[in-house]
Symmetry: C2
Subunit: 151 residues, 2 copies
């Protein structure tokens, strides 16, 4: 029974750290990796926000470029949250990421889905579409941060 539980946990950890290519030499690298991917994504997402919120002029081409990068980057960070990466470098990641893996995975998948919609919205060249998709995506960032990131 104990062995089965361990196996289940191991399987869950593998699922969380998919794709299988996602292997890090040490926890510190995984932490730096996920923070790096999220930072790059955040920079591009911020540029969309500036347009969505009228702080920057709307440029359809620039919006599309940034949204495409956001959608690409949104796939990456999760591989850096594998088992044993709760410490090893300064991190705001809360323990709940590893104790509530199913919920965390749901959040990450929601972000990926919303960023795909965001890229599609940007492709329409319509600012209102961008605003709507930006708001929905920002909502998924916040929901996940509220539950899984230290203040």
């Amino acid at each position: 029974m104990k062995a089965f539980a361990a196996l289940t946990l191991a399987a869950a950890a593998l699922t969380l750290s998919a794709p299988a290519s996602a292997q890090f030499a040490k926890a510190e690298d995984a932490i730096k990796y996920r923070q790096s991917a999220l930072f790059v994504m955040g920079q591009h997402f911020g540029r969309l926000g500036a347009m969505a919120n009228g702080r920057a002029p709307f440029d359809a081409k620039v919006a599309q470029e940034n949204a495409d990068i956001v959608a690409q980057m949104a796939k990456l960070p999760w591989a850096g949250f594998g088992a044993g990466t709760d410490k090893g470098a300064p991190t705001k990641a809360l323990p709940e990421i590893w104790t509530e893996q199913a919920k965390f995975k749901e959040h990450s998948e929601k972000l990926e889905a919303e960023t795909v919609k965001l890229a599609a919205a940007a492709k329409t060249g319509n600012l209102d579409n961008l605003k709507t998709a930006f708001g929905a995506t920002a909502g998924t960032c916040k929901a996940c941060h509220d539950s899984f990131r230290a203040k």
Copy 2:
């Protein structure tokens, strides 16, 4: 004449920091952005290296996934080397990046081109092709680091 020189410099800076979407709130963000993009790229590139050098078993699918990410990431860092980002956060970037912009740009374009070939090589599913393309890409990393990154 002075105005023309200033204009030329400004144009060069714009070219270096293209695409136009690449705007950062402060130099610190640009530095963190380029370092983040390079770190993410390096992690995926390292996995290809492990396969190319026999330290990890060759898995064509995993190789392709990683090479695709490397090619995507290779486009990003350069926007973070805009004018005024030589300081503002700890950085190994040498002043030559800004005093020899044409040469630096040549290196960055070479990397982008080699990573496109790397992704194509990975797609063939042939380890020898991957090895060749990995070596060529690693060579462009080294050449640029030798000239533009502090030891």
